[in-house]
Amino acid sequence: MTLRKVAGAAAFAALALSSTSSFALTEISWWHAMTDATAERLEKMAADFNASQSDYKVVPVFKGNYTETMTGAVAAFRAKKQPHIVQVFEVGTASMMAAKGAVYPVEQLMKDAGVEFDKSDYLPAVLSYYQSTSGQQLSLPFNSSSPVLWYNKEAFEKAGVEAVPATWNEMKSASEKLVAAGYKCGFSVGWQSWSLIENYSAWHNLPTGTKENGFAGFDTELTIANPAVINHIGKLASWSKDNLFLYAGRRGDGLPTFTNAECGMYINSSAYYGSIKAQAKFEFGQSMLPLDTAVADKPQNSIIGGATLWVLTGHETEEYKGVAKFLKFLSQPELQAWWSQETGYVPITKAAYALSEKQGFYEKNPGTDTAIKQLSLNEPTANSRGLRYGNFVQIRDVINEELEAIWSGTKTSEEGMKAAQERGNKLLRKFERVSGR
């Protein structure tokens, strides 16, 4: 019985092998974590590429959420079954960088394959997050966004909020008016660590850690328990008592509170554009993140989130040529402009940005360029280029946990942030020991 099964398995494996090699096309596997409409567009991109030439076939494979996709790729790499391209979220960047031997830097790939790759074509604020210390491009940004302030125009009118809040003090007064006008809450926030701590720090030109936010070395330490952040989080915690601020979950769970007009405002990724447009039955707008005037006079720039495409080693040279051509294909202005207009992600090249502008998209849809304007507001500093911490997936979990403890009142802002910093540093040290060699 079992012997026959094993024999059957062997036959099956042999069959599978022979059937792949009999394809005339060179297959390129692309693991991604996109769902819904975004996945539809992603698949269209692959299909368009496949139709545009006859040597390569890109096969997109959905592998679960970002974490599952990355862990799937790790497991596959260890077993030498890795895909050519894998989509990794920004917090996985340090782990990917440390995975020497597993990652084929995109810049190197393009050079080896003889495909032109001029970094000056790309938007610096988008690229810089994913460069090595020496400036080599490691991965290609794919779906990048930045948190913005979404607001309900009708709610503002009803509550008598005249101007869109530009500072956190105005956030408070606007929220008070909204609640007084019968709204359940002032605002909710998505991806809180990213919006309220990482971007808050960049926006006010504050470091989140030593060593240039981790860019300059694995021996970095978090500094998120600084007075500005503690004060900011503490303020939000006190607001949540009056429902000025409503905590609705770690990810984008707060979306229905905004689209059902329960909260008048929502701080979250610009990439929620598609969903909000589809679900909100009211006029909405997006605006830049509020400024904390006690911390800075003017905003610096925001940082991106989302994911990039990493190329993994261990495949044939011929296949990498196809990968390079595909990545080049993805960077075309027309494709990028279409992608960003449909999804709310920022275009990754200057040409695509210019094209969208020329097509009048930003004029017709005011506010849709908020994210890109925020990102390129100023030349990024060491504090606003991005962050690069190892084990950042867990560190974000730690931050989420401590923030939840603060929101529910079991810890003060200071206790929570200090605990987050301390626990995060432990994770950084562990990462340094394994990967920092």
Binding site: M1, T2, T67, T71, V74, F77, R78, S95, M96, A98, A99, K100, G101, A102, Y247, A248, G249, R250, D253, G254, P256, T257, N260, E262, N391, V393, Q394, D397, N400, E401, E402, E404, A405, W407, S408, T410, K430, R433, V434, S435, R437
Partner: protein, 293 residues
């Protein structure tokens, strides 16, 4: 453990156990051995670069107060699930036992949640209790309870306990009902002639007589809560908020699969495996003939 009467030794028994031993060796002992080895390493998940650290992973775990609280939490969770599931199924079985006609129909109508995947059960409860959309969360708000299990750890724990108990009620119900139905009618009749009412009969006669089943179910329910509720927690709360629903098995998964901390996760697996082996031995000693799930 062995029949008094048995067959003579030959090559046959080896052939008979071979398939299972082969599968166990390849798909259980080999990976478990790797986990054992990983537990004394700090390893980079991608490249496999590793450093031998002796028992540092274990040491770190036991220094981590969070890990110790996961132990308490798991115990609390398992106890709560077992008691909730058993309490409600006992009541239902008690009443079903009184019903002469149609008890099979009731059984059919109660049995099927057993078949629902833990992760589906999780999805169902997510949907019902979603703080912004869920219909039950809405209902709770109407009666003045501010339901937000994404923020309130106690509510989150309550939710996973309810979901886990809900799935286990049919199983317990079957056993309780069967145990009650196997009590000889004469015993109960005798009691009722002595003038004992139904409630008194239940507590003084039925309940003591089914105590072996109760004890057996307690073991099964605790084991279930320990190991089979992974899907429910994964879909419902993902261990949050602030780790308030992270139990032992879930933490192994979270640290290893999500956090890619192979050493730390493997060390937890080893601790868990030792626990399981100890429990199994205890079971063989004390509840020899009463185990299965």
């Amino acid at each position: 453990m062995l029949k008094r009467v048995h067959f003579q030794p030959s090559v046959l028994p080896y052939l008979l156990v071979a398939p299972q031993i082969l599968v166990t060796l390849v798909f259980f002992l080999w990976p478990a051995g790797q986990a054992l080895y990983q537990s004394v390493l700090i390893e980079d998940a991608w490249t496999g670069n590793s450093e031998f650290v002796w028992f540092e992973n274990f040491q770190l775990l036991f220094e981590d107060t969070e890990y110790l609280s996961v132990f308490y939490r798991t115990g609390y969770f398992a106890g709560a699930v077992a008691l909730t599931a058993m309490f409600f199924s006992l009541i239902l079985a008690g009443f079903a036992d009184r019903i002469v006609k149609g008890s099979t129909i009731y059984r059919t109508l109660l049995i099927w949640p057993y078949a629902i995947a833990p992760v589906l059960a999780g999805a169902l409860f997510v949907f019902m209790f979603d703080p912004t959309l869920g219909i039950l969360a809405y209902g709770l708000k109407l009666i003045g309870i501010d339901w937000n299990h994404k923020l309130d750890g106690d509510q989150a724990m309550l939710l996973v306990v309810i979901a886990a108990a809900w799935k286990q009620i049919p199983y317990n119900f079957l056993f309780f009902l069967a145990a009650m139905q196997s009590i000889p009618k004469s015993v109960i009749e005798a009691a009722s002639i002595d003038g004992a009412g139904p409630i008194k009969r239940f507590w003084t006669i039925i309940f003591p007589l089914i105590s072996p089943t109760t004890f057996f179910l307690l073991v099964i329910n605790v084991v279930y809560a320990f190991f089979d509720t992974f899907g429910i927690i994964h879909a419902l709360t993902d261990g949050g908020p602030a780790n308030s629903t992270t139990v032992l098995v879930f933490k192994v998964f979270k640290d290893g699969f999500v956090g890619l901390d192979l050493g730390g996760s493997a060390a937890q697996s080893v601790i868990l495996m030792s626990l399981v082996i100890a429990l199994t031995v205890v079971q063989f000693r004390f509840v020899e003939r009463k185990v299965e799930y």
